[in-house]
């Protein structure tokens, strides 16, 4: 089934089913707000999951008694008695069927959290009763205001199975909403494990259970996924051996962690300048990038929703830098791994990670607080530098993540290799050979600009410098219309790249509307040519591109595609081939009411002569307005040729075009690195306006009549290039 068919399929759902979901929603509100996420993600997320599942879960309930341990009478101090009383009350309210059980104490939120990650043995649970392969345990301990561990959250997972384990002492429970009558259990003289079957479909492995347990003031909830009921029960029993409490887990984990801490040194740099210096060479721009939307570096234990990553290659195509950024719910992790030997240092230049490591014979982490809940940490390990920025994390969490990175001990090249297990053949699945006899036609009338070895595209070549030929095809106004690049190697292999914004670049027809394979946030369409070569068609920004390879492997073609697409993204983004008319899509009538007449803000007006910004246009009037102390504030220039006219307003304030705020406008477009906002008048097609703030903070507003959109953009380019400001215009006169 093709993607397009899938789309069509979903568009044809019967109305009766649509009515079902409409009935299910509360349509009285415009949009449902996203529920706030509790701060302590590990424990409270699990608790919230327990809460939701228990509330609405339709699974059957059964309980089983598993331990021989005696459950002493619950005391008021431990919370047990209160629990029973509360349970009774609520049971009456709900006629004995659904029990809402919420213990006191949850407001005494823990003061801080420490995280530990490592083998299960680290936590005193040496043998699990079930086989869980390739698994590590993440444990978070929460402490009260006295520093006593009161809560613990553990996550055990591999690709197919998961167990979330929460433990609370001192009578504290997360708010639990359970089904069934618990009062009999509270009166029972043995600890009881309740198992809730949340499995909605009994497939071979997909069992989902929730267990709940209370013993001597210690409450436990556990959620398993992928385990059978017996396994889930056995896991719960294993974790509860010897009356596990947060304090006991903390003791084991802390002891273990103390051993780990001897393996590295953490140095806090408390300099006033809150940033970490990195050797300038470290920031050398890679020759090319591959972009990823997968989690390149698995750290942090969070299920991030916003993931961005890239791998940087040097001029020889060797990966040496990995940048990964993960975001979720206000948290952000940025990790940079660089294989080049550029040790990081503190602002004072005195704390070289590597030097410290050599001095102490141990790896050194240099840490710095950069804001509330924001930290930067870095270390150098075997010539690989790692820099971590953690926003929304505690110092302990940031340290734990850094240690995790250190334990991974992977170079950028290794990270890349791990991610590189790609079946390249998936990109070349079209069965019909594509004829390559037809050459494409470039629709240009502005001439051709030959490229040489200094051209920016040169670096894309996997071949030698002398095997490159390329040319730009230009429009009448000199801007780029299309490009054609050819690379040839000594062994007869070649790659030809064509790219352009006209949509008519293809020897092989237009881009297909469906099919293709997703890569680098876009779709590529692979085909084999009739003479045995390979071809890739794709669109980057507004560029329609095609790569035709002769003698190239599929992997090489994909690599070439990655480099070209990354290059185009990095260097052109959305700046090139934006159709000029599209830049003037907003109606100018929307903004006229916001206009502020700034002309009379100045106390003095100085007429100036033609500043020579636009040759060939007649300057009708020009003046600069200054404040009382003579500071030039605004410049007004008026050009006209009779049929056409251009008013130019320039403001030294920068925050606006002189007539309305730019910053509040939306739907702008970026051109040559500058955000611009174009407006046209629906009633008068000849009327167009353009606003922008230059890199020098000069606000510019062009009001044009009878000037083509493309010409206005070209005039703006020239105006920016001239670098003129009101002050310069005045000085020039």
């Amino acid at each position: 089934m093709k993607r397009e068919e899938l789309k069509n399929m979903l568009s044809q759902v019967d109305e009766q089913y649509i009515a079902e979901i409409l009935d299910a929603e509360d349509m009285t509100s415009e949009a449902a707000p996203v529920p706030a996420r509790p701060k302590r993600f590990a424990v409270w997320t699990a608790a919230a999951a327990v809460l939701c599942i228990c509330t609405v879960g339709g699974g059957c309930l059964w309980w089983t008694q598993v331990h021989r341990q005696e459950l002493p009478q619950q005391s008021a101090e431990s919370g047990g008695e209160a629990t029973a009383m509360q349970a009774d009350t609520i049971r009456e309210e709900r006629n004995g069927y659904v029990l809402r059980w919420e213990l006191e104490g949850r407001n005494s939120t823990p003061d801080y959290q420490r995280n530990f990650n490592g083998p299960i043995e680290q936590f005193g649970i040496c043998e699990l009763p079930v086989t869980v392969e390739n698994t590590e345990l993440s444990l978070s301990l929460y402490h009260d205001e006295n520093g006593d561990p009161v809560e613990a959250s553990a996550v055990l997972r591999n690709q197919e199975q998961q167990m979330v384990f929460n433990l609370s002492s001192k009578g504290k429970l997360y708010p639990l909403y359970c089904e069934g009558d618990l009062t009999e259990d509270a009166a029972c003289d043995q600890p009881v494990i309740h198992i809730y079957d949340n499995t909605t479909q009994r497939d071979e492995t997909e069992y989902e259970y929730e267990l709940y347990y209370l013993h001597e003031g210690t409450a436990m909830t556990m959620r398993t996924y992928g385990f059978s009921a017996e396994e889930a029960e056995a896991l719960a029993a294993a974790f509860l051996q010897d009356g596990t409490t947060p304090a006991k887990l903390s003791e084991t984990a802390t002891n273990r962690n103390e051993e780990d801490r001897t393996e590295y040194i953490l140095v806090w740099d408390e300099g006033e300048q809150l940033y970490l210096n990195i050797d300038p060479e470290y920031l050398t721009y890679p020759a090319s990038y591959e972009r990823y939307t997968t989690k390149l570096i698995p750290v942090g234990g969070d299920d991030f929703t916003d993931i961005y990553g890239s791998v940087g290659f040097d001029e020889n195509g060797i990966p040496y830098e990995v940048l990964a950024e993960y975001k979720k719910d206000g948290k952000r992790l940025t990790i940079k791994v660089n294989d080049r030997e550029h040790p990081m240092k503190s602002p004072s230049g005195s704390l070289y990670c590597k030097e410290l490591a050599e001095e102490h014979g141990k790896p050194t982490i240099v840490a710095m607080k950069t804001g509330t809940n924001s930290y930067q940490l870095c270390f150098t390990q075997d010539n690989t530098s790692v820099l971590l920025s953690a926003d929304g994390y505690t110092a302990e969490e940031a340290e734990a993540i850094t240690v995790e990175l250190m334990q991974q001990h992977r170079t950028a090249a290794q990270i890349y290799d791990d991610e590189k297990m790609i079946d390249y053949s998936q990109y070349f699945t079209l069965e019909q050979p594509v004829p390559v006899s037809a050459d494409f036609t470039l629709e240009t009338n502005g001439g051709v600009h030959e490229l040489d070895e200094t051209s920016p595209f040169f670096d894309l070549s996997p071949f030698g410098p002398t095997d490159f030929a390329g040319r730009f095809y230009l429009r009448e106004n000199g801007s780029t219309a299309n490009i054609r690049l050819e690379y040839r190697s000594d062994d007869g292999r070649s790659v030809t790249v064509t790219a352009g914004g006209t949509g008519k670049m293809y020897a092989h027809g237009q881009l297909a509307e469906d099919g293709g394979t997703e890569r680098n946030s876009g779709r590529i369409y692979g085909s084999r040519t009739e003479d045995g070569g390979t071809a890739l068609s794709f669109r980057v920004c507004d560029w329609d591109c095609e790569i035709i390879g002769d003698g190239m492997t599929e992997e090489e073609m994909i690599l070439f595609y990655d480099r070209l697409s990354a290059y185009l993204w990095e260097n052109f983004g959305d700046t090139v081939f934006l159709h000029a008319e599209d830049c003037f899509s907003r109606d100018v009538s929307e903004i006229t009411t916001q206009r502020i007449d700034l002309v009379w803000n100045g106390l003095h007006q100085y007429p100036i002569t033609d500043p020579g910004i636009f040759t060939g246009l007649g300057l009708q009037s020009a003046e600069v307005h200054c404040t009382g102390d003579g500071t030039p504030q605004h410049a007004l220039l008026y050009y006209s040729t009779g049929q056409t006219s251009i008013d130019i307003f320039m403001s030294s304030y920068g925050e606006m075009g002189p007539v309305f705020p730019i910053s509040g406008a939306s739907d702008g477009f970026r051109r040559n690195g500058i955000m611009m906002y174009g407006f046209s008048d629906a009633q008068n097609p000849d009327h167009r306006e353009l606003c922008f703030v230059t890199a020098n903070n000069i606000g510019v507003h062009l009001i044009c009549y009878g000037v083509d959109a493309e010409e206005i953009l070209a005039l703006a380019d020239r105006l920016i290039e001239s670098g003129n400001s009101p002050a310069q215009l005045l000085d020039g006169n």
Partner: protein, 184 residues
């Protein structure tokens, strides 16, 4: 006003039909469109197009349920608009919800193309096999492009349970389509 009365206004070509439709179903339509487009201006434009399409389609159409009929129009217009506007810069939820389904179901190996009627029967037959609860969650996610959080609010389920249901339903759909030869 009842649906039948509103439809009568459409048949009588009374422009009052539009204002009543807006009054009665405007929130629903905006809710569906804004869930996909996440932009007020686009939402307003799409909402107006929805009324226009309804005006043009009734008569001859005589929908059984105005609510569902308008929702279908609004949803399809929103997706059409979304594709036009966001070739690259997508609304993450709409893109994500569709991508996760496409990931499971789209196959480049498949060489057959299927007619609209055939697909319509297939998807509706599949939906008929689901429990009401699972069908609602599936459609909220993949028909209406709701976020997981929004579905959690509507259904009252936990995140993991919601995701678990979606995962299983996707697999069921894939199996269903495979058994009927829709997928290679």
């Amino acid at each position: 006003m009842k649906d039948a009365d509103i439809i009568s206004l459409y048949f009588a070509r009374s422009e009052e039909a539009i204002s009543i439709t807006r009054e009665q179903y405007g929130r629903l339509i905006r809710r569906i469109i804004s869930g996909i487009l996440k932009n007020q201006e686009d939402t307003e434009e799409c909402e107006n197009d929805t009324y226009m399409n309804a005006w043009n389609a009734i008569p001859p159409n005589r929908p059984k349920s105005m609510k569902a009929y308008l929702a279908v129009i609004a949803r399809n217009l929103a997706f059409k608009r979304y594709e036009y506007l966001h070739a690259e810069k997508r609304n993450p939820e709409a893109a994500v919800s569709f991508d996760e389904l496409a990931e499971c179901l789209c196959s480049e190996q498949a060489s057959n193309s299927y007619a609209g009627e055939e697909l319509r029967e297939a998807i509706n037959a599949f939906l008929g096999t689901l429990s009401t609860e699972h069908r609602r969650i599936f459609l909220l996610r993949y028909w209406q492009a709701c976020s997981i959080e929004e579905i959690m609010q509507i259904s009252g389920f936990s995140k993991s349970k919601t995701e678990s249901i979606l995962f299983r339903t996707r697999n069921k759909l894939r199996k269903f389509l495979e058994e009927r030869g829709y997928m290679a």
